[in-house]
Amino acid sequence: MNKNEAIQTYLLALADDELILGHRDAEWTGHAPLIEEDIAFSNIAQDEIGHAQALLRIYESLGGNDPDTMGFLRDADEFTCCHFVQMPKGDWAYTIVRQFFFDAAEIIRLRYLKNSTYELIRELAAKIYPEEQYHLLHTQGNVERLGDATEESRRRMQRAVDEAFEQALGLFEKIPGEDVLIDEKIIPDSRTLEAEWLQFVTPVLKRSGLQSPVIETNGTVESNVEPLYGGRQKKHTEHLHKIIEDMQKVYRMIPGAKW
């Protein structure tokens, strides 16, 4: 894989994560626990989908198809999102925990990408970063509040963490072609991201009264569970197939039609 292909592959993986998670988040629009949260969570959904679009525009500028074609005319088995973002929205606890895990990973990744040697990525990362900072403020705040507020909230949040942890590690599955880009300081190593992510989320969960499946030794944190991989290799869950069918239903309905 040459450098250009590796960059395209990387952009596509990130864009697919954002698009599919944004799609899931928007399933709450009209169904959130509080009207204010309907507004807040719809905003997060819009941001994530917007980030996917922006990443795909760079992909396009490197000779790829346009964002709509990539999002709405590509088959499910051509997507490279991790399984984590494909999972059904679950209850509010799962949604909040998933979004918190994702936002933390984003923030850590973007800190590197803001310093990428590749200009288009560097510029976009700087634009996305503040939006993700705000997401993290909101989702982390909710984790901290719901973690040990009531017996029910603690039970649900712990269940969500137990479920989401190994899935979230799938965010750091190696993306094909990564090594070429790491050497040129275009992107960070997925292993570095994972280590920093574990360092970041563990104390937040602890402070929120939640257990995480990690082993802590002398200031380093290691995961104690097997990551859920496969997405970057285009091996997907049945959930993704359903999402793609739903998402592309109208777009593909009439050949040649514009919407």
Partner: protein, 95 residues
């Protein structure tokens, strides 16, 4: 009825530096930090905004519309208004 929609916070919005904070509405939220976030979502989604204040609804102290004497200014008070004085002088800066 065992539902709660959480406490109410009045929201004040400042459009740009130098402008006053203006009351724009209220949000329901668990605490001050969430109230600021919800206020941002609801009142700074489209409008420009550089600062928000939130205050618990019950902490706002209000005058009563039904106590007419409070704002009464019935007698002649023109001595403390600009219009109570002759038109401004029109001098040049320097001859």
């Amino acid at each position: 009825m065992n539902d709660t929609q959480l406490p109410i916070w009045e929201v004040f919005h400042q459009e740009k530096r130098g402008a006053s904070h203006v009351h724009v509405g209220a949000v329901h939220a668990s605490d001050e930090e969430m109230a600021l976030q919800m206020a941002k979502e609801q009142f700074a989604r489209r409008q420009e905004c550089v600062s928000l204040w939130v205050v618990r609804e019950e902490h706002v102290v209000k005058t009563n519309y039904d106590v007419p004497f409070f704002f009464a200014r019935n007698t002649d008070k023109e001595y403390r208004e600009v219009y109570g004085f002759p038109a401004p002088l029109k001098g040049k800066h320097r001859e």
